[in-house]
Subunit: 346 residues, 2 copies
Amino acid sequence: MTRKAPTLEDVAREAGVSRATVSRVVNGIRNVDPAIREAVREAIARTGYAPNRAARSLVTRRAETIALVVSGAGDDSESEQNAFAARALADPFFGRVVSGVVGFLRPRSMYPVLMFAETEAARQQVLAYLRQGSADGALVFSTHAEDPLPALLAAESLPCVLFARPALPAPLTYVDVDHRQGGRLAAEHLLARGCRRAATVTGPLDLPAAQDRLSGFQDAMARHGHPYVPIAEGGFTFDSGASAMTRLLAEHPGIDGVFAANDLMAQGVCQVLRESGKRVPEDVAVVGFDDSSAAVACRPPLTTVRQPMEEMAATMARLLQEQIEGELTEPTSVIFEPELVRRASA
Amino acid sequence: MTRKAPTLEDVAREAGVSRATVSRVVNGIRNVDPAIREAVREAIARTGYAPNRAARSLVTRRAETIALVVSGAGDDSESEQNAFAARALADPFFGRVVSGVVGFLRPRSMYPVLMFAETEAARQQVLAYLRQGSADGALVFSTHAEDPLPALLAAESLPCVLFARPALPAPLTYVDVDHRQGGRLAAEHLLARGCRRAATVTGPLDLPAAQDRLSGFQDAMARHGHPYVPIAEGGFTFDSGASAMTRLLAEHPGIDGVFAANDLMAQGVCQVLRESGKRVPEDVAVVGFDDSSAAVACRPPLTTVRQPMEEMAATMARLLQEQIEGELTEPTSVIFEPELVRRASA
DNA sequence: CCGGCGTCGGAGAGCGCTCCCGCGGGGACA
DNA sequence: TGTCCCCGCGGGAGCGCTCTCCGACGCCGG
């Protein structure tokens, strides 16, 4: 505890070589005589040496750390701040993201730093964190459309990669799924099952993702002879899905298929349908989006459009890494293809 | 981007003072003339100075970072490793933990680094991370009983605080809830509602927490004239709760109350009960444990024993901080009181 | 047998910061 | 008015590492 940790110097003395040579061995640099390399290795093992991260960072100007930022809107109360973190993590989406990021980072002995940026103060903390070199870059997950963080990051040219195309256009790298294509998959599946009066519950339409899922759905429906599709806007929550479905049912009692823009809303849709005496999928087929744990938990289990989250998150980490290394100077986005997962609901 | 960040030196020159004085201002050390302090503040603002974390860490020997480690068992396959992370985060428990930790850390401009230690290699990475001073200490959440990580940490006297009392005793600080008291609360509530043939579905009995919940429950029942209580062991999952309840029902069809050692199992219990034509709570009252989101999602919503997770997690962070500062040299554990949350199931 | 070239190890200069120490000046007390 | 003290500032020495030179040695060719 109190006895100080061995340094490069100590190892060098132990091995009878210079600091520089030990450094070369530690960093796996060529041009070291195998015999010496072995001697150094042993000295390292004997002393229990571990390179000091701070000292290394100081000269390499690299923290070997990246921030995973969950960004969004919230008020300034302390309780709200805590609730924000809890809510963000409660989303099953999040576990898959972390899983993908960690999958990429871990082989590189890196670990993500978890940050939340739901207030202006918190955003400034994130910026400060990056400016002072505590992290080399940020992976940003925005939970609402007008998130100012991406623009702030861009303004200081701090390396970052966004999840999803930002609503406010910015010259930044992002990773997204082809939402239009997802909407199309849902439409075609509903059509293929024989639905003739399909409706959709959208996400908040200020979000590009929600818009695209809707327009992909509408386009495909129109192309198959259904130019008019009843729509109701929701807020990506269970309750908003339920109330949207209630509205839809009131105006269009004959609906035989519903595309909900995420699984949580699809669950709400199913509940309202059940309470109205409709069977899923016999009377009304329901398709969700995300393939989250909600899709499996739902009764009946949801047919849903899957985003390859882990892969997308890992790609974000890779793009960020390349940006940090300077291999990537232009914004370079990657769009993934969604996939339909068939379960019982449609 | 390429233009280098301003240093203390730059600010000092700008303000016409020495590096040391700027450092004093930055670190809020007294003994600085107000006029000079103001001048330095302005120079800082003008230059956009942000102190370099690595340089500071190098001399203070402090990373100002703590690791949040989710530790457990798993095999070495890559898919399993990712699954471990995803599974850990999916647990609603986790969101509350992070929320509590962040609540403590954020006012100190600190952020947790997320690590997983489900394999020996991963554990070594965690140790290396701490040894090289990348983090000052670890908050450890073990997902299974024989987790070797705490002992490894203790052996190197690396600062750490555990969630829950370890099954393998170790001289380490931990934070826990009074599980016996929780079991007692459940028993007394069931008794007070008039249950005369209560049973319990326990957690894995190699976990101290599961043992204590059980013995607290048994003791209270015995004290009220019910020395024999049917028990069935579960594994803290939905399915294990369901199958435990099936076994219980086969042997003791007259059960009128069940204490399940966590909410997930309580959900399984409720489902089996429903399928057996028993009403909850009219025919059988059910009490869960944790007050997780499952408790609210369950039909009917669960009466459950609540652990103050956020507060516990914040306390862990505080204890770790004190340990790092050297204010706390002896293992000092804190036990929280659980609380009964009444909902519809009992 | 000698010169040139290539290879491998060592010396040393920082990276940006903190903190110890010492000095100068002004106020208070005798 | 003189002396002492204390407050506030600057100088400078590292913290542990990387990396650029540079020198030394060995090998090969002439």
